[in-house]
Assembly symmetry: C2
Homo-oligomer: 188 residues x 2
Amino acid sequence: MNILSYGLLGLLTREESSGYDLMLKIQPHWQAKHSQIYPLLSKMENDELLASRWVQQSDKPDKKMYAVTEKGIEKLLGWMTTPVTAPVTRDEFNLRILCVGIAEDGSMRRILNERKNWFMERIRYFEDLKSRIPQDHLRVGSREFGSYILVQKGLMNAQTGIEWCNWVTQLLDGQAAIQDPCPSISEK
Amino acid sequence: MNILSYGLLGLLTREESSGYDLMLKIQPHWQAKHSQIYPLLSKMENDELLASRWVQQSDKPDKKMYAVTEKGIEKLLGWMTTPVTAPVTRDEFNLRILCVGIAEDGSMRRILNERKNWFMERIRYFEDLKSRIPQDHLRVGSREFGSYILVQKGLMNAQTGIEWCNWVTQLLDGQAAIQDPCPSISEK
DNA sequence: TTGACCATGTAATTAGTTACATGATTAC
DNA sequence: GTAATCATGTAACTAATTACATGGTCAA
């Protein structure tokens, strides 16, 4: 049982879903390909944490719907009381920045712009996710409350990323002093 | 050649370092254990991207110092012109939040507090890193400029994380309306 | 004396990605 | 017709973690 397994288990307590559904639902919060998810679901079914049934569809391919078992819920509740592990971020961008000094002069600006665009794309992505959450689920304690606050987290992080990009650009342009703290820091 | 390899290569263009040194230097920007770094360095030396020599120390164990070769620099420059891949973050916290509804009432506040403390610890960590960068290296184009802006990035992200935790806490306390945008978003 | 730091490595395992494989429907 | 979406799986590989293994110095 790795972390992803618990995430899938958690999503399945909300509603019965296919592996494909789960892949789409977990994407915003944990990147995983279908090739990792399908075997994991099989394994969990084998361990009797999940139960499955095939559902025929007329227009689309048949799908295998999974649901959590009593044993699965117990497992999930057990996980909920364990300490949360620290996040792991791996960003090639950081390593690029670290050795940008050895490349030609424009490369810093190039990757900075690339990253800023990526953050803007992220904002569009999260805004879209947010718009898909039904209004009546935006209450504390409602089923989608978790999704809502996580989307907001994603938006805030992307916003901060853009602010950082702007700050570095200003430094490169000589429009800001190097010791100047970043906007977000100075506000606190 | 994975991303980490290029990061190590990049650090080595700054100065000759041991595997142990590299492990410490890369930590803030890319988490990797010594057990991954040592074999990678061996492999890169085998590919003639690096050269090594043993240095005896009286008080501490002997160390193997690595330096980039001409071939290594070429490899690094080639990498610098390739498109930067998107960052990957895996955070158990997100999956917890997603299924916090099925646990007892206090669990949301518990993990929220846990995470806020982690962010505060992060700020101390990055402030410490920042204080170790010599003042005369805080210029655009200086050797440590990349480290400096990355540390600032880490500080900004942690700050945003704390703001998000506070926002969610207010929601739980009923002190903020659910549709209220987060502080950082509203400013833009 | 116990734990942290220095220093290097290998072995075993898990987690995650890429590629292989198939096939229907729908929208441009 | 060509790409995207739906839908499920396996095989091969790479990346990363955990565990095994050793051993000296220094500080609380």
